[in-house]
Symmetry: C2
Subunit: 209 residues, 2 copies
């Protein structure tokens, strides 16, 4: 057998290339406004492949969220299972959320869109594959910290919202970043400052004094 050159790439490769093209476009444009023609031009693939693999642009967006969620949840699951103090898990979790938004600049906007700006079906699906599992893992870390005497008892449901909002806001409220602080983009220094700040704030709130 010899490897044959083919103009039609293998199925999995095409799917990955389409997702990669969409991620690039959303990151560059800081918006979700791209067409199937844009995807075709960027990926070098026929735009009909989007319909073939994902059904629609919305299907492509959902697939991207699923893939990113699976990766983030895989890391979070391993963290929760580690035999380390609960406070170390919480610190790593906080950095993990902020770093995920930093590494995937489109993800924050995409999650907000699917959860809050579209229909109930999209919101329920993203909640099922991402929000609910994250909330469960967070509760496990909090319970672990209380059991080990590290944390005060904390309302896990309320904590889920407060922490999510705190981590998310730097990325979601980019327009204020520019106007209030004269900063044009979130660079690595700002990422580190934000991780340190949110960690200090939240750990001060949950750890026993």
């Amino acid at each position: 057998m010899v490897n044959r050159e083919s103009s039609q790439p293998p199925r999995t490769d095409a799917k990955a290339r389409l997702c990669a093209a969409a991620r690039e476009l959303m990151t560059e444009r800081e918006s979700m406004e791209f067409s199937l023609a844009d995807i075709a031009a960027r990926s070098g693939l026929n735009s009909a492949l989007v319909k073939y693999h994902f059904g629609s642009k919305d299907g492509l967006l959902r697939a991207i969220v699923e893939e990113d969620a699976a990766q983030a949840l895989g890391e979070l699951g391993k963290l929760v299972a580690r035999d380390i103090p609960a406070s170390a898990k919480m610190r790593a979790h906080i950095a993990g959320i902020i770093n995920t938004y930093f590494r995937h600049p489109y993800l924050n906007r995409l999650l907000h869109q699917l959860l809050n700006e579209r229909g109930a079906d999209d919101a329920a699906e993203v909640t099922r594959i991402f929000v609910e599992p994250v909330a469960r893992y967070q509760k496990m870390i909090l319970d672990d910290g209380v059991a080990k005497g590290e944390f005060k008892p904390v309302d896990a449901a309320m904590f889920h919202f407060a922490l999510g909002g705190a981590c998310d806001q730097l990325f979601h409220a980019r327009s204020s970043l520019r106007a209030v602080f004269g900063l044009d983009r979130i660079d690595d220094d700002m990422r580190k400052r934000y991780v340190a700040h949110v960690t200090e704030l939240v750990m001060g709130g949950v750890e026993r004094r």
Copy 2:
């Protein structure tokens, strides 16, 4: 002189009634999707008055944000000027943000739309009339707390984002509220729980131990 009945209400009254109708519709529908005809039906006024007083539906929305911002900033300004401990100011400020979103259920969505989903002009305007003044007042409270020995030195810019996100998320992420916690609406008990939780979290993070 006798009071004359008139089918044309005075100018200020018409403006207030149009704003009130828009607030009601946005609250009931949990969305900003309403037409000038809806406003006319709700207010009992001619839809042409929206164009006359506000230029457009967007102008009406900006006027609502301006009015709500002026009220919130008036309260915050008085709070900052009070001769009380900085920690009492911060606690009242946190409750104030959450209570404002609770009392004006449309406001969170409206701010997100104007800041993040529209053009740069809307974002700059809302930042100028609302976000910047709030950030300045927050810095005054933080500086006051450091000067009085109550607070640790805190990065005021980062704090602005973390606190804003924490207060905002319960309202912005309503879809998760339903799906994760089986709660259909934010009632007064939940408002109190959230105020208590965010206050505990944030004060633990800023107060000297």
